[in-house]
Symmetry: D2
Subunit: 485 residues, 4 copies
């Protein structure tokens, strides 16, 4: 089973979105639509996938390690997921615990019926809530933060399932976009800051919720609108109702969705991801121009920004690096003579093109920097005369606690080094990142430093929520974060 992310480099030197979610109410064979939607969201989580359906009488679940294709394209699996309502989830684990019991949707038989939940995001006070629940007798079956929500619902004394869910969500802090399947209807909800995305669509009579618009495209559904931050929608036989149960807050949607997580053909918060990435490339060309023969994208995520850079600068766009579509986990290196094997399995220099040329490489971000070192060296080995590097995001200096898999700060290259030191480390002739303001400009906004319109904490350290668990487990780290801003 191929469980690696073909979008990422072999050594995992990328930030990784943790999850994608999809829910549908009111369509025959609802689980079939969920499978297709999850397949379109596969880039948001390749480690495991799950679907829960409700047939009006019973809930049915199937969860599996690995991709949607290979698991949810099998007749025998899909036949066991009947019903006109279903939700699904694709996931990464951030904890390293990749057991099946953590694969979502999580499901519990509550006092007033079945309750299944798929969660994109991460709660920043889950450990504290868990300890409290544990003390009063709740037994946890997974190590997932999402299970906290279920126990809070189970122990809530509110009257209706929806009220119990609201009761529960008022106790959590952090990022969550949720799809929840109950006997009373399909519920979708986005946290008060709208950190993670969630869109609503329609196909005939059916209502759909999904992390990205590409999941609507794949089933031919039309896009209705984004869910608002803090909005909770319930859809069932009586129609659709929208609630705003939380205190009003300024929205802070994740800016990295535009840089890397979302598919280029998605529309996120009303803007085309592809277009924003091209804008970033153009902005980068203006902010950090360079005289070279070729603009070369680091495939595949660097391609749109490279096209933008090429179009703005007039320097030809060329495929100087060819990417293999077939990547496995680890290959045994037969000998020491095989240098830089990891990166070569995935990327190969187009030497006939590169030889004797000066080039500018366009990549979306630098995390640990390990890949950049190898790519630059590969270009030099292929005979490039000069190798410049331009990055389509500001330096990534802070960890994310909202559902993105980031290394600890100590492993983020930009948290340890100046840009000049990074240039030296990756052995480039020049290195530049787009500025935080330039990034906002590519999105058509002027960044307000006192109240940023996005969550850009990974670049700025400006976290939009409290970080309760971090503060309790590691007060120093927590203080350091504040000091570092």
């Amino acid at each position: 089973m191929l469980t690696t992310n073909p979008f990422e480099t072999l050594d995992g030197d990328k930030l990784r979105e943790e999850c994608g979610i999809f829910g549908i109410w009111g369509a025959d064979n609802a689980a079939g639509f969920v499978a297709l939607g999850l397949h379109a969201l596969q880039h948001r989580g390749q480690e495991a996938a799950g679907i829960t359906s409700y047939d009006g009488a019973h809930f049915h679940s199937h969860r599996a390690m690995g991709h949607v294709a290979g698991n949810f394209d099998r007749d025998d699996v899909m036949r066991k997921l009947p019903g006109r309502a279903a939700i699904g989830h694709v996931r990464y684990s951030t904890t390293g615990e990749t057991a099946l019991r953590n694969v979502q949707p999580l499901y519990a038989e509550l006092n007033d019926g079945g309750f299944a939940v798929g969660h994109n995001g991460n709660l920043s006070n889950a450990m504290k809530l868990r300890r409290t629940l544990n003390r009063r007798g709740s037994i946890f079956q997974s190590t997932s933060d999402t299970e906290v929500i279920i126990h809070l619902v189970a122990t809530s004394q509110a009257a209706s399932p929806t009220d119990r869910l609201i009761d529960a969500l008022k106790q959590v802090e952090g990022a969550y976009s949720l799809v929840v399947l109950t006997e009373q209807g399909l519920i979708a909800c986005r946290d008060p800051l709208g950190i993670r995305p969630l869109v609503m669509g329609k196909l005939g009579e059916a209502t759909i919720f999904a992390s990205e618009t590409v999941a609507l495209d794949v089933i031919g559904a039309s896009f209705i609108r984004d869910l608002d931050p803090g909005e909770l929608v319930i859809v069932n036989g009586s129609g659709l109702r929208s609630f705003r149960p939380f205190e009003k807050a300024s929205a802070r949607p994740c800016i990295f969705e535009h840089v890397y997580f979302s598919r280029p053909d998605s529309i996120v918060d009303g803007t085309s991801v592809y277009e924003v990435r091209k804008n970033i490339g153009a902005e980068l060309s203006r902010e950090a121009p360079v005289q070279v023969d070729l603009v070369v994208p680091v495939p595949d995520s660097g391609v749109p920004a490279a096209i933008g850079y090429s179009q703005e600068s007039g320097i030809p766009f060329e495929l100087g690096i060819i990417r293999s579509h077939y990547v496995g986990r680890t290959f045994i290196q037969p000998s020491q003579e095989v240098r830089h094997l990891g990166v070569k399995l995935k990327h190969n220099a187009n030497s006939a093109l590169i030889r004797g040329k000066s080039i500018v490489l366009i990549d979306d971000s630098i995390v640990r920097g390990t890949t950049s070192v190898k790519i630059v060296q590969m270009m030099r080995d292929a005979g490039a005369r000069e190798v410049h590097m331009r990055i389509a995001s500001p330096p990534t200096k802070y960890s994310c606690f909202y559902g993105v898999d980031t290394p600890e700060r100590a492993k983020l290259l930009a948290a340890q080094m100046s840009i000049e030191a990074m240039r030296d480390y990756i052995n480039a002739d020049s290195l530049a990142f787009i500025s935080i303001d330039g990034l906002y400009r590519a999105l058509g906004q002027d960044r307000d430093p006192n109240a940023p319109q996005r969550c850009d904490a990974c670049f700025t350290g400006d976290y939009p929520t409290r970080l309760t668990d971090l503060a309790e487990s590691d007060p120093d780290a927590s203080l350091a974060l504040v000091a570092a801003r």
Copy 2:
């Protein structure tokens, strides 16, 4: 296990190379190098893979359905393939018989020792030879044409293993590039016309043979030269000897390697595949210009030609179609509302870009035309104002009998329709193919119509060898082929 070809569209609407081969003599852990080389050749055959090694005393084989990664990146597998010499093979089946017994390298314990062979190509008189061998008591274990070669070697009365192989090869007709592992050495051989490619490389003391140069790149080996058509090379402890045992003939290497089969970063017959494809795009722009807003490649194989078309015409190159990296076999369609599902799973329109624009799509070839119909419609659904199509190869009108998986002629769109009828069928505003002479020009050659420098039979019907099995099984088809030229 993902056994589909990510390079091809979901319904298999491409010609498919049947095989890739790799052999190495004189390196510790030879099988490890073979695994890496086969991984780089994975695009030449995704159905199955196999490696045979020789440790000086015994032969060891492992063959498996599926990709190289997932099978030959496992410690337990690789530990069972010791030795300083090994050969490997990746394959498609053309017959639909995908049993493990057909997976190569084929191996036999002959009278004078073990004999393992990996074969890229196809014999056009295999059925006839098989019947003869059968009658004299040879028992076939596979349905592969390659097994004929082994039985011819086994029953040859020539003195040495090499002589017995030459004796066998003199009886076959068709296309073959071979790597053969024996106790006496590693043999590589290319048929007298050199229809399929085979290159030689060096890494330290080790000698390597491979279908494409990318397999040398991945292990850091240097490229020495192409094997000549009709050349047989044997390498062992005494060094390397080259033989030319066959009658001299004019070379006819397969032109389609440049159009589609080979990786863009390979050097085939001395020319860069990427550069030739860009040349084809430029040539196509000159032969069939069009006034549009955007040049859009059909990913991924259409990208280099689209870059060439864009650079020659000055029309911007844009990613109007986004390709998913995650494709499974077949998804159950939940309802009739889901139209064109197959293609959408793999390709999605970048609607925000396309809407209201006139575009020219660049694809490498049209085989059955089923994909083209869907892609054009997808562009129109996304709001394209005009959709033109340009194809980076001449119309594919004839089946290949030399190791490429082509449909029967009746299913080749260009064998059934005029270009205008094809344009109407795929519903494009205009359609043009590069001319056969233009294709040769992109390769830097003037095509000699009386003695073409390449095998271009799929476009012209000019087959460079007899087609004995076809003539015996279906004399009409055989005559029709001749008449059709």
Copy 3:
């Protein structure tokens, strides 16, 4: 995987013990001993098995469908179960729900540490307790009655883990022998009536608890004593302490352990199972003599009683039925000509012996009677002149609610028919069952009808506990049981 019980007939026409348990404290590689012990207890549950170990810091679990052999004789599995304390469980499911999540030991991370439990028996008020727990917010993950115990422990406000367990057990009714692994020690406990067996043994410094003495034999441990009904023992680094936390009650151990469940080489409640079965055979010969040529056991469970019958009567003991050791789940019947196939796959008549003879068949019990019909017919087809049948237990007229898989009453042959009607139904020349008093005599006891010394409810309907769940779900059935006595 062979998941059938070789002791039982193909169509499941036997009562089935639901579980066997084993625990050990104070031995290196404790899980290895558990695996051996469970293997010796395999006859008590073939559907699934599990082991949980504790290494002083962490708990480790492996649970699997199928037999102990094939799962727990694998190095890779056993290496993941380190520690000097471990418990294990083999199980049948009675509900038909055979999912892995029901396989024991069940484990929960409680407020004061890990808690793993293996349970032999069945609670007769589990449904009622479950509803109450559900209402207060407890989320159940399995459908097993055993999980009720864990939630009662989790929500108990008692101070120590042992007190919380006692608190929980005081709320349950029914049958339970338990092994519980906590960070504070290994706990073993038998319900106040001692319905299911539990013995204690010693091997060097290690203390062992097991369902039967054969599990001590296999590891070379010595038998110390039976746990008393209502006794709770905790063993840890400080030694062994025994508690009697429940109200004193007269013991009522299950009499069917002697008839069928336990292995013949076990010592149950101080008496040899083999000897009791021979006594039953001898008693049966006195109660129901018959003049025949041969005594033929229905293998394998009828053998000891048949030896007793033969020795008492002087009629030769002969293997008239040969039993296959290889039985799979279901074989496809190729045609209607194959009659009585099910039973023939498992049993074959020794026709050369049987032909022309009068015989008495000795079987341990009649449940549905389906097997008896086939066995008698098989003997007649093989040429037996007369076929008499003697049963080593009284007629089975009542369902068991204490951890034995019995059909509903309507399917128990003896609940529906007189003995003469049963004789006619199975087509025997004569049929007799041992009397309930005769059965007690074979055990060396005089049955006290007002206070029976054993639980013999399956024969008499005299249930030793309340049946709360049955009374709530089906009051009529409950009343009928009382009336039927």
Copy 4:
């Protein structure tokens, strides 16, 4: 998968029959009958099984490692084996090479059609024939001696398939009972000496061949007769024809079929196996009486002889050893304290019975003696006062070359020691074997020392055929065999 033989002791201290065969012509769903027949013959080979069917147009094969149940009771497997004719095979390997390619039926596409063969026995000149065939160009795919037969048929110049088979069989020496499936009919054949058994049966219109009568019983077929030594029968649409193509020879059927291999409910060569074994026990009681309290069989193969011994001597028959039905491959021994673990997993002493008693153990044979040592010690550990041992066959002193898995002579206890030394080695109070003449008497025959009526080479060294391969590979061993007689 349970691949051990429950009939044998854990350490393989038994001779093992290598194969069982079954064929049927003229029944719908023929493969279903073969599966049932092979299941009844499972004791003759537990390592692998295979079935080949013929549907009038094509041959279909499925071969698998492991038992018949678990492989051939699956719908998906059986649906792929259509037709009214089929053959099957269960096997041990003797060489240790247990690859699937050696699993029978072996199948080849010969010049005049498909040819499938199942073989019970072993050829004693296979290596020599193989070398010759190899030299003339035949390529072997398996390491099985049976493949020699196929190549001899393939290269024969005789006219009909039957004549080519006869031509081939005239060149082989050794033991063979064969079922052969061709397009012309089902052929069954027994070697000129009839060393291995083969019976013919009938079910409606269908004709059946099988190694033992129990395979007829299981499908309700009637027994017609044994095939004669040297007889070849072909059955097809035209009916049944019998040939005797070989030179007339005195029959020498294997005597060990009666001692151990065949099931007790089979009729071999006209005598009941169960009755012969009881006769052996009675004969043994007369030849080697002993004054003890109990007759105890070593289960299960010693049971019939023990009943005979008990009935003749009047000493009670008792189950002093209880055998587990659940045996896996190897259990990890948790510590040194666990002595004699291997044998205890399989056999447990019935200590309550044995303690303080004098007993005589009855076993069928002694091969290496390792099991006997453990069993005697187990009886002493359980408190037996005296332990005598009686063996239901003469001392096994010679290897078998006719399809029985025997250790090399050096490992046969009786080839190395006198009976008194063996008694001392296994630590019994007395030890006796039945005499070779006594064994023949139990079969109702007087042994003719100049022309024994059976193959009893394993006891006497009197081999009925030449041993060509042995003589060529190890002339000394061959001479030693002759000298040893």
